[in-house]
Symmetry: C2
Subunit: 204 residues, 2 copies
Amino acid sequence: MIHTVTIHYPNGARYLPAGQTAHHKAAAKPVLHGGRGMTLEQELNESNRYYLSHDIAVIHKKPTPIQIVKVDYPRRSAAVIKEAYFRQASTTDYNGIYKGRYVDFDAKETRNKTSFPLTNFHQHQIDHMRSCLKQGGVCFGLIKFVTLNRLYLLSASDLIAYWDQQDSGRKSIPIADFEKIAFPIQYALNPVIPYLSAVDDLLS
Amino acid sequence: MIHTVTIHYPNGARYLPAGQTAHHKAAAKPVLHGGRGMTLEQELNESNRYYLSHDIAVIHKKPTPIQIVKVDYPRRSAAVIKEAYFRQASTTDYNGIYKGRYVDFDAKETRNKTSFPLTNFHQHQIDHMRSCLKQGGVCFGLIKFVTLNRLYLLSASDLIAYWDQQDSGRKSIPIADFEKIAFPIQYALNPVIPYLSAVDDLLS
């Protein structure tokens, strides 16, 4: 019986093993996110399962990139990784297809109540979004103000605009700006995070 | 200094750590694939780097899904995975965007000289391709006959047709059929595998 443990990325974000259910998570950690005992990643995975099962979209979170160093395999069917390290992803975490459009985004959480610190994004993620936009992709960030329990879809073009003015300007995006330019997303039941409705707003 | 080892998936396919270069690989394993000492995965990764750097397409291989069981982290910045297992992917290995179209495919190698055994694909990969096709994605398989050094793009619809007739029909696709219905890909220099030309053929 494999039991998982809570670990952390170098940036301190919690790592969540794939397949972990809201129930397990709630049992393991009673702190509530979105009022259902799930983290943003779990909420998005569940929402993507809903969209997939209803033929609405095919969007998946990419696996966490791991640098494997040592593996034992007494039998090929039982290879055990004995030493490995987390690697930084070269793309955003989520991509797929919706209404024939390539969709690409990353999800970030902040406990900050007044603004979203741009340090939550990394240069390579911004570069990746730039490249996808050039190809005609639908790119954005899903940003959750955890303590306020507010969730927004921010278009990649807007995100990049804030990113590019960091040296001259501020290093974060005020929540007031989200109210102006981002698309708010209300939690629901099915899917938990109906973010594709915000994507429709972004596209229209 | 992190040094990698050659390991195998449950299905016996070789695992290649990301970032491993053709040179390293050639040094480690002199057997030639495509005449450049690279495996199909390395050739595709290099080709995708070329397409990305020339603003032609943004296509990446997804990281290998790993089930993490035990992690030591004396410091967050040095989390060491001590026990983990390979998980089976729920999607194909490659996806991205090309000319505004969502592209999704998997790459398979066979040493068979006369036909491609359908056992190289898994049900969930076929199901994933079905879902992507429904959404208007450009889906296919890149199939390499290693001993013949022949590479083909086979459309997902054709692949699925062969897959669905397995119970009543044959369990492999004759190479003669590839000659008829698949799109041959010739190795080149930049990119090593110009498979997007075959995608153009598929789309036209």
